[in-house]
Amino acid sequence: MIRRNFVTSLLSGAAATVVAHAASDKSLKNSPTVSDRNIPDILVTNQEGKEFHFYSDLVKDKIVMINFMYAQCEGICPTMTSTLVKVQRALGDRVGKDVFMYSVTLKPEQDDPKAFRHYIQMHGVGKGWNFLRASRADTDLLRRKLGFVDSDPKIEADINQHTGMVRIGNDAINRWMACPASVPSDSIVRRVLWVDPANDTRRV
């Protein structure tokens, strides 16, 4: 809730201040890479064919881990998924209860619920971890909003160089971070614990 109000005020305020700021010189140009911090409420479908609104059903007030993948990937995805499976096992029954894992396909044209179910079985993915697909346009929108975009158009266009980051956040307290899925799984588990304010008073 806090975040959404923030976005609204940000957008309405921006228009009002543009003119006043126009006199400032070029070196003070703002970053074109600053996102509007709005996690889009796009429609997504999971491995069971169930539909969700991404933000309001899956992220709002929750601790989440979000990565991007596709089932046929022979690059970084298999390792990424197997590391995240270890993370899931370490978190145990918290996954699906107070920590939610989402893998969003980069190839929505290929990855239908059946392909997801096959992938889940093949990698030993447990319960409480949703594999999601959105439309092509929504997939790209979500990826950009989460910061997994490359400013080099050549790299951005090359599916083999797709993001290997995991976005970790706690929407309830608006604390967001990201780490590579290629680091040891126990260090990813620690990062999930770091976005939980219950752990602010201790080392985990």
């Binding site: 700021h21 970053s31 911090r37 980051m165 680091v183």
Partner: protein, 578 residues
């Protein structure tokens, strides 16, 4: 009907424009990328309406010196160099405590505070060492070891989508034992404290040459460094020795008698580029992994302040405290009536990264980047009352990749306005610093790296699959990437970039001297025989640096990009000394 068709159709209604691209193409273009981002524009602020704040020095209200003499146990109960049941939560054994008994003890209270960046902006929710932004300035002396107890009394932020109320504290780049170096995983949980021990002796006990004078301390919390430094966790740390004694009237013939008098004629200034949301709160973007470029220029936590100066010599200690921005600082005289630029003045640079140079050099401008320090001396007696100068950042930069390549014209990027006033009430006792004046000798450097037979290590700063890496590997603090033998002698390291990204690389613990940039001597006069701890790798450049060795202490240290957004997204590497 397949799920896919169904999905596409429904999405079409919601994102009509985007769905035109629903055809199965993987390519995305820069224009669609841009469409998904909303630039943030901070509220307008009037420049030059507030004076340059100066952080309190140690001994002021924020920090209490609680003891003198060697009895730190009495001063800081439970200071036993290891796990403390009431607070310290890592089992730090202070390896040099017996050898360097502390003579002073300090306590620092770290709090969540309200800070006004500008009179017209509401206060922003910040973190503050000692409850201020910047934090209080430590004034230390070589030969006088001390301990600090850091109390984390921060509350979780209620504004913004960034920060964690925990901190690791790095004294950048003090020669500190590993357990007091602010290693990223040695963070202090909320409601607890941690004790650091600073030995205050020079690397290799080279009391003449290995002295660091202008340093800073800042949060190094693993993965949250960009968030927390941006939210205020930074301050200056100045150290004095026989040459740089902080006393311009010093009768010691070795004393350089540089302009002195903390806060008056010896001024530390941290430059930053914050940005604010429409309500005037400090804004950040944790979803940006390239780097944060703000749209306000601030000095010591104030947006575009002014400074009234006396007509005498001053020492300025510049620090870039930005998250990602590269700066090029110019000293520009302006017409007091029209504010139009009149002429540029050269800087007289006396130090690089806080280390006095072998001799003072003239610099047309100062290229600088996050964590780098530049000390300069300006003699305002050459001006007349009412003259106006500006410190300007003319480097154009619009994203985290690096500068655009455009150097903006004079009059652009004004950060600080300097107004020349009267003669000082007391005569200037500092000695003149003409270009070429000898300052501090540099430690020995080999004639050529080609003949060097010692250990070499190479590091490539790269990006793959959206992940920042060193030698292709993202950060893993669980084990060292390599271990250096203590006192094992000189080493040459090379630092290389790629992909057009600029990386200010910081290596903890020891200072190094740049041998070459892209195989040639450095083109920057203030890098010649300069001991440095931040090396700005510009694009695919390769920098070769020379270390005297890794001396005196053992334990875990790190090297990382000081574009702290890169650092927080894995561009860091652990190395140990054993």
């Amino acid at each position: 009907m397949s799920n896919q068709t169904d999905l596409s159709k429904r999405s079409f209604l919601r994102f009509a424009a985007g769905s035109a691209a629903t055809a199965a193409v993987l390519e995305t273009t820069a224009s669609t990328a841009a469409a998904a981002q909303t630039p943030l524009t901070s509220p307008a602020t009037t420049p030059w309406v507030q004076s340059l704040p100066v952080p309190n020095a140690v001994g002021g209200a924020a920090i209490a010196a609680v003891a003198s003499g060697s009895g730190c146990e009495k001063a800081l109960p439970n200071f036993n160099g290891c796990t403390c049941p009431t607070g310290e939560t890592t089992n730090a054994t202070h390896q040099a405590l017996a050898a360097c008994p502390p003579m002073d003890a300090y306590e620092i209270d770290i709090r969540t505070i309200q800070h006004k960046w500008h009179p017209k902006l509401p206060a922003s929710e910040m973190f503050g060492y000692g409850g201020t932004v910047p934090g209080p300035t430590f004034m230390a002396k070589y030969g006088r070891p001390f301990v600090v107890r850091f109390h984390n009394n921060m509350t979780a932020p209620t504004k913004g989508n960034f920060s964690i109320p925990q901190t690791a504290i790095h004294f950048h780049n003090l020669h500190a034992p590993a357990e007091s170096d602010g290693y990223p995983d040695d963070y202090i949980p909320q409601g607890t404290y941690r004790d650091h021990h600073y030995v205050m002796y020079q690397a290799g006990k080279d009391t003449l040459r290995e002295v660091n004078n202008t340093m800073w301390y800042h949060c190094h919390r693993h993965d949250f460094t960009s968030h927390n430094v941006y939210r205020g966790l930074a301050g200056f740390f100045l150290a004095f020795d026989e040459l740089d004694s902080g006393d311009e009237k010093d009768s010691n013939p070795k004393a350089l008698r540089l302009p002195s008098g903390y806060g008056k004629y010896d001024l530390p200034i941290v430059f930053q580029d914050p940005m604010f949301d429409a309500s005037g709160q400090l804004a950040f973007d944790p979803f940006n992994t390239d780097g944060i470029i703000g749209d306000k220029f601030a000095a010591n936590g104030a947006i575009q302040p002014f400074l009234n100066v006396d007509r005498r010599r001053y020492r300025f200690r510049f620090l870039v405290g930005s998250v990602s921005r590269v700066w090029q600082l110019h000293l520009s005289q302006a017409d007091p009536k029209t504010d139009k630029p009149l002429k540029d003045l050269a800087w007289t640079a006396i130090a690089n990264d806080g280390n006095l140079l072998p001799k003072a050099v003239s610099m047309p401008n100062l290229l600088t980047s996050p964590a780098t320090r530049h000390d300069v001396v300006i003699d305002f007696s050459q001006f007349k009352k009412g003259d106006v100068l500006y410190i300007e950042n003319r480097m154009e930069q619009v994203n985290g990749r690096g500068p655009t390549g455009t150097i903006l014209p004079a009059g652009s990027g004004r950060v600080l306005k300097i107004i020349v006033g009267d003669l000082p009430s007391q005569l200037d006792s500092s000695l003149p610093v003409a270009v070429g004046r000898a300052l501090r000798p540099a430690p020995p450097v080999p004639v050529s790296s080609a003949k060097f037979t010692g250990t070499r290590r190479n590091f490539k700063f790269d990006r793959g699959n959206g992940v920042w890496t060193v030698n292709g590997i993202p950060v893993d603090l669980s084990k060292p990437s390599f271990t250096i033998p203590k006192n094992g002698g000189p080493e040459i390291w090379t630092l290389s970039g790629s992909g057009g990204w600029w990386h200010p690389i910081h290596i903890h613990f020891e200072e190094a001297i740049i041998l070459t940039r892209d195989g040639k001597p450095t083109p920057f006069a203030n890098e010649v025989n300069a001991r440095k701890d931040v090396f700005l790798v510009r694009g695919s450049e390769t920098i070769e640096i020379y270390y005297q060795g890794f001396r005196d202490f053992t334990g875990h240290y790190v090297m990382h990009c000081h574009n702290t957004v890169h650092e927080d997204h894995a561009m860091m590497l652990r190395w140990d000394i054993a």
